[in-house]
């Protein structure tokens, strides 16, 4: 930690040299160079009245942040400007705030109210940006506020605000994972949203917060599929990746039958396929019994829907979207259809080299499983001399994977050119690739081997060395035939210096010494000579060679071997010494040597299996393609496993539940049997209603596809009753598709007509809608999407016209439509009304906020001496009551005392304090703290007083009068006042005696930051009515068994918080009221009890921080 910070400073320091470069900034010219106490001067500028100065200061501060320099000491000066009128200053302050809030949590709280105000702004963009900044401030204490704000925003009128809410969810989750349950509720709500704007963001939130709750997707699955094409590109990626996972859990493997039928026909030469087949065979075995009865695989229409709706996205300009669709097809589509992705992926190879890198990695994995897919594009993987090395190597990998009997000759010719390249790493990779082709394709093994042998005479040593290594592997497969190659290689030992190559040659000669009986001893002789100068790896192989020769041809090599072993005995490397000792014992028979030496020959000259040269990309496809984990071939944090296909499809009806429910509500009149048919139509209508911009390009389309779905449905009807529903559903869909495509043709002709209609339509609709803003947007959208609207309209028409076969149905359908429209037009007005009401309230609240520092008119401190209005006078009168009446209920004995100084730490002096709840007479804005000093020491303490008070800004302290003398064993009390500024920040100070100083701090529970006020029931209700919305916090709780009666509830609440009881007509409710001490904001609490100990706590408070903390405290008090 310290190291890294040191590094930071150093970096910062070094970059400060280049500082004047920023002088180019027209706004910040000159000043940079002129003075060095920049921060002071920045502070001054920030404090000035001129926006231009502030802006300049902020620009320089942001430039500092950008360079990674620490600007945190400016925090107080910057935060003050959070409410600045100038938009750019404001934006820059936000930037600063988000960057440093985490480090300066306390000060950051000062800015919260600005954002809270922004959350209620009538302009949706301001609401959204307020939420965005608020949720970006990483301060744990405002978690409850964020939660509330998110909840509120999730049901906002504006989809943009809802989108921002979705963005805020992962932020809050990362700040406080305990909020998960509540956040999931919000996610669930937002998932049901029907706008494209929200879809991507909420799925992102889903993936980050609760990817395991796949059940939340069911009801939204079809909607997501249909909206997909209109979602912005980044959202598309996230949704497609999520749907891939979803589909893997919900649908059957489309290839399960095929793999049985064409087993072997499409086999690649890698083991991988066998593995897979085995797996599948296992599955098949399990499924064997039902197999006999099982009809051919029929794809779930929802599965088809997903494939169909994602396909056009292969044409996206965004590589990430293309990749996402490609992986979806790879993981989900039937084998015959996967081919379509190849073309798009090959296209991506013309993009930036980074994109190529990632795409090639994925193509490499795919090409192992489905070689046929990329074969037509073989030439696209040819290497260009300008490619970076890593791309070249990946392309080689793909080429190698694609090699088969038919194309191997072209590939090898290509490889020959590559070997001449100047990029040596690439050449080495090419040679290895040749080796792999040779092992995989028997026909060309000899050709490859010959080619590699030719390379042995290459001038470049690296090439030779790599060839030797590859040849060694190839020879292992059939050594008998190739003794001449081995001889040739033996000669090479004179020239080759690369250790790995030398070692390989020695191993080969040792292994096949029977094939080269004359040469082998000679090689050993040469090696023995140079033994001491060899690398370790070569030395080990020399020992091996010696041992093997000794066993086969001891006559000639006995002496040589002993010489080598002696040399090794004194080698510097212990591995070599060990090996020599071990081998000597094993091969040289002595009296001591045990039974093992009999088997020495078997041990050394056993047949070794030939190495398998396989692709490093083999089996990588157990990671979801396109993911980071796949790229790294290691599980990255937060990676969601791609589940295996289920053996039996889960109930497909979970996805249409919603539709039925909706239908039920809408069509109570229509007869029951029609429901099944309606369902898909209803679904389709849903599409229409929410029809986004380009939906004319939605799902339906080419003849092939509709034919597909028809055939599906045809086979579907063969199936049991279980699938009949979905089958008929897709059938009707299919026929509708037909009519629609016709429409599209007619579209052009109708165009003019439609536009006219459109002009009428918005007018009609605007009557039903009241929110002006929403409407404006709609208008805009209308004009944008004349086409889509008009289409939906004409759709209605043509539906009724073209109802040759189902005339009855279409009638009822029209009915349904109307009803649905009616049903849909109903809900909106409600929120609108609510909203306007809210706005009114908010307006008043806003006013309050504005006046804040100079306490609002209704708010009067207890000890205010002057009151200008009658109202406050009256309140003051009633207050005397309040002080008296709660006295009965909250007895002083209940006061909790806290330890300030323990007697051990205080060397005999112990101090306790309690909040006396008495008004602090010198200053009404202070909380009285009563301190009790006890001297447990044997000697007396003198001059007890406090010093060096450290406070957060705004806080004040009235010190207690000095206690001159506290004799041993005596106790004294004193009262001090602290203005906590309505926050639970601690007041730190030193407690001093004549000899010692002790650091102590007083932190108030939130309940002590208020004082009771007396309100009548009506006043209470009125005030509560004004503190709704964001200012109201409600929690459900179960009361502790001991505190179910009214009396205890009152007692516990008043103990937890300094509130007074408000008289109340109902005995089911207890109400309390108070005001915060400093600002006098009203605090209202209500405990409503229900049967069986259930209860609901409601707190209304202008200060949301206080409100949320109070809820926590009271909850604790009531449940314990």
């Amino acid at each position: 930690m310290s190291a890294s910070s040191a590094f930071n400073e150093e970096k910062g320091g070094s970059s400060s040299v280049g500082e004047p470069e920023y002088g180019h900034d027209p706004a910040s010219g000159g000043i940079f160079s002129s003075d060095y106490k920049r921060h002071d001067d920045l502070k001054e500028m920030l404090d000035s009245n001129k926006d231009s100065l502030k802006l300049e200061a902020m620009k320089r501060i942001v430039a500092m942040i950008a360079r990674g320099k620490n600007a945190s000491d400016l925090f107080p000066a910057v935060v003050k400007n959070v409410a600045c009128k100038n938009i750019e200053v404001k934006k820059l302050v936000y930037v600063y705030l988000v960057r440093y809030a985490e480090e300066q949590q306390d000060l950051a709280l000062l800015s919260i109210s600005t954002f809270q105000r922004g959350l209620k702004d009538p302009n949706q963009l301001i609401r959204a940006s307020a939420l965005r900044v608020l949720s970006s401030i990483r301060v744990t204490i405002i978690v409850p506020i964020m939660m509330l704000a998110i909840k509120e925003a999730a049901s906002d009128m504006s989809p943009y605000v809802r989108k921002t809410a979705a963005h805020a969810i992962p932020k809050l989750y990362s700040l406080d994972p305990e909020q998960k349950d509540q956040l999931i509720e919000v996610i669930e709500k937002l998932l049901a949203d029907k706008t494209t704007l929200v879809a991507g963001s909420v799925v992102m939130a889903f993936e980050e917060v609760c990817p395991e709750r796949i059940d939340l997707i069911h009801k939204n699955y079809r909607k997501l599929c249909n909206l997909l094409i209109d979602v912005e590109e980044w959202g598309q990626v996230v949704i497609i990746n999520m749907l891939t996972r979803y589909a893997r859990t919900q649908f059957l493997n489309p290839n399960m039958n095929e793999s049985l039928l064409e087993e072997g026909s499409d086999k690649t030469f890698y083991g991988s396929d066998e593995d897979e087949d085995e797996e599948e065979e296992e599955k098949e075995k399990k499924a064997e019994a039902p197999m006999a009865k099982r009809k051919p695989y029929v794809m779930d229409p929802d599965h088809r829907l997903l494939l169909r709706n994602t396909k056009p996205l292969l044409q996206s300009r965004n590589a990430a979207v293309v990749m996402a669709v490609a992986q979806l097809y790879f993981h989900l589509a039937p084998k015959v259809e996967v081919g379509v992705i190849a073309k798009a992926l090959v296209r991506l190879l013309r993009s930036h080299s980074e994109v190529q890198y990632v795409v090639l990695q994925n193509v490499a994995t795919m090409s192992i499983k489905r070689r046929g897919m990329f074969e037509p594009y073989l030439k696209s993987f040819y290497i260009r001399s300008t490619d970076p090395t890593q791309i070249k190597v990946l392309k080689l990998e793909v080429l190698t994977n694609l090699a088969n009997e038919t194309n191997i000759s072209t590939i090898l010719r290509e490889f020959q050119t590559y070997i001449k390249s100047m990029d040596k790493d690439f050449v080495a990779a090419t040679i290895q690739a040749i080796g792999r082709c040779a092992t995989n394709i028997g026909e060309v093994r000899d050709t490859c081997l010959n080619g590699l042998v030719q390379l042995l005479s290459n001038r470049d040593e690296l090439v030779v060395a790599e060839s030797v290594v590859v040849i060694k592997k190839l020879l292992q497969m059939q050594p008998e035939k190739h003794s001449d190659i081995i001889k040739h290689m033996a000669k090479l030992t004179d020239n080759i210096q690369v250790p790995m190559a030398r070692a390989s040659i020695l191993w080969l000669i040792g292994e096949y010494c029977e094939h080269v009986p004359k040469i082998a001893p000679d090689v050993l002789r040469k090696m023995a000579k140079s033994f001491t100068n060899e690398e370790d790896i070569v030395k080990l192989q020399i020992i091996n060679l010696a041992a093997k020769l000794y066993l086969t041809n001891s006559k000639q090599t006995k002496l040589l071997t002993q010489y080598v072993l002696n040399l090794a005995k004194y080698d510097q490397n212990y591995d070599i010494r060990d090996r020599a000792r071990f081998i000597r014992q094993l091969i040289v028979p002595t009296e001591k040597s045990g039974a093992l030496s009999k088997y020495a020959k078997k041990l050394f000259l056993a047949l070794k299996p030939a190495p398998v040269l396989e692709s490093p990309f083999k089996d990588r496809d157990h990671f979801q393609l396109g993911s980071l984990s796949h790229l790294l071939n290691a599980k990255a944090g937060g990676y969601q496993e791609l589940p295996d296909w289920p053996e039996a499809a889960p109930d497909p009806s979970v996805r249409n539940v919603e539709v039925f429910a909706l239908l039920e509500r809408v069509t109570t009149l229509t007869s029951v049997p029609e429901w099944t048919k309606c369902s898909s139509r209803e679904k389709r209508k849903e599409k229409r209603v929410e029809k986004p911009f380009y939906s004319d390009s939605e799902g339906e389309s080419g003849p092939t596809e509709s034919a597909d779905s028809e055939s599906d449905s045809a086979s579907g009807s063969e199936m049991g009753s279980g699938l009949e529903e979905s089958g008929s559903g897709s059938e009707s869909e299919g026929s509708e598709e037909g009519s629609e495509s016709e429409e599209e043709e007619e579209e052009d002709e109708k165009d003019k007509k439609k536009i006219k209609k459109d002009l009428k339509k918005p007018v009609k609709e605007s009557e039903s809608e009241q929110s002006s803003e929403e409407e404006e947007r709609k208008h805009q959208r209308k004009s944008d999407q004349q086409k889509s609207d008009s289409e939906s309209e004409s759709d209605e028409e043509s539906d009724s016209e073209s109802s040759q076969s189902e005339s009855d149905d279409s009638d009822s359908e029209a009915d349904v439509k109307k009803k649905k429209k009616a049903a849909e037009s109903k809900p909106p007005p409600k929120p609108v009304k609510k909203d306007t009401k809210k706005e009114k309230k908010e307006m008043s609240l806003l006013d309050l906020d504005d006046f804040e520092p100079a306490a609002s008119p209704q708010v009067t401190p207890v000890n205010s001496f002057l009151s200008n209005s009658l109202v406050t006078d009256l309140e003051g009168l009633s207050l005397s009551d309040a002080v008296l009446s709660p006295a009965n209920i909250s007895p002083c004995s209940a006061l909790k005392s806290y330890e300030l100084l323990h007697r051990i730490r205080g060397e005999g002096l112990s101090v306790e304090y309690c909040f006396s709840r008495q008004p602090f007479s010198p200053d009404g804005n202070m909380v009285a703290v009563q301190m009790q000093f006890t001297n447990n020491a044997t000697s007396e303490a003198k001059n007890l007083h406090m010093e060096d008070v450290k406070l957060q800004s705004g806080m004040r302290v009235k010190e207690f009068p000095e206690i001159e003398l506290l004799p041993a064993g005596e106790t004294a009390t004193a009262v001090m006042g602290i203005d906590f500024c309505d926050s639970t920040q601690a007041a730190n100070f030193q407690l001093c005696t004549h000899t010692r100083k002790f650091f102590v701090s007083i932190q108030p529970p939130v309940g002590e930051l208020m004082r009771p006020v007396f309100l009548t029931e009506n006043e209470f209700k009125k005030e509560q009515g004004q503190l709704m919305g964001m200012n109201e916090i409600t929690e459900k709780l179960t009361l502790d068994a001991k505190c179910r009666n009214e009396h205890t509830i009152v007692q516990r609440v008043t103990t937890a918080a300094n509130l007074s009881r408000v008289p109340c007509g109902s005995d089911k409710e207890c109400r309390f009221a108070g005001r915060t001490v400093t600002s006098g904001s009203l605090v209202l609490a209500t405990v409503a009890t229900k049967e069986g100990g259930a209860a609901q706590l409601t707190v209304n408070c202008e200060k949301m921080v206080i409100g949320t903390m109070l809820v926590k405290d009271v909850l604790l008090a009531l449940t314990q």
Binding site: S15, A27, E88, V95, A319, R347, T389, K420, S627, E744
Partner: protein
Amino acid sequence: MIHSLFLINHSGDIFLEKHWKSVISRSVCDYFFEAKEKAAEPENVAPVLQTPHHYLITIYRGKLFFLSVVQTEAPPLFVIEFLHRVADIFQDYFGECSESVIKDNVVTVYELLEEMLDNGFPLATESNVLKEMIRPPTILRSVVNTLTGGSNVGDTLPTGQLSNIPWRRAGVKYTNNEAYFDVIEEIDAIVDKSGTTVCAEIQGVIEACVRLTGMPDLTLSFMNPRLLDDVSFHPCVRFKRWESERALSFIPPDGNFTLMNYHVSSQNLVALPVYVKQSISFFDSGPCGRLDITVGPKQTMGKTVEALMVTIHMPKAVLSANLTATQGSYTYDLATKVLVWDIGKLNPQKLPNLKGSLSLQAGAPKPEDNPSLNIDLKIQQMAISGSLLFIRTF
């Protein structure tokens, strides 16, 4: 997703950092520097690096590294594509994407980055939307701003983010309505030593500049759409319309944009416009070699070949080149061993030729591999694929 972004210049200085979640120390870049040291060329640094706690995803654009830090699983292409989008936006705003320009406009850059990502997830990446919020700097505006204390931040709130067509802002007005389309086609071919084409493919891109009032809906159709083998579109293009009738139907963004990319299938044999005769040989006897290159036109359909340039990566042993060019000029960079011959216009009557001797390092073995030649050229007013287009406006 994207946690932080560091901009690093060619020499390895971090000159800008931006964090979208909590702050990550810039020491995380050390892993990248390590990898950069190992790789000889900046292009050879792996785009994705794994460190103990983070993943670094890097792109290299305009001699700058855009290094993003990712902490959890995120599709690498997603991040890479986004980083390129960032670079594109810089290019769009400042005319170029270089260190000095970014440093000069550091505040605008920072504001842009702030708007483009929210908590690591892309928020507004359309240049039209961004320009509504943060105006690109112009010389005039910066002068005005310094005088009046104005700012680059838009006064009006951006409405583009709210609409379903985020690429176009509302209320566009022009007195002159105009739309231009540039069709740029590239042939990418590999030719072997003997002069036969190993593979050749044509890629095209249609760049558009549309300045039309209101919400125009355009339709573009091709003479010969069958030629187009594979296409990708700007999001404004309606996919289905393309699939059904092979026409481009779209509401265009305002200003410059790339409408579509296409690929002409390599099955049709592509006629290369030029040929090259080359002979490069090194002698066993002495430390020298000979080079002789001639470029001539092949099938140019009567158009002139321009901006012809030949680049040769020489073997390391080549010390210097003593050549004469009949046309254009040549340079030989000793450090990178790259010979560049800039020819310019190709004159069919008098073929350009480069001839001369190469001197090799004494004692070094004779390089046996033939260096590869890269030939770049441009031909105006010619579409190799032969697909023309028509446009209709509504």
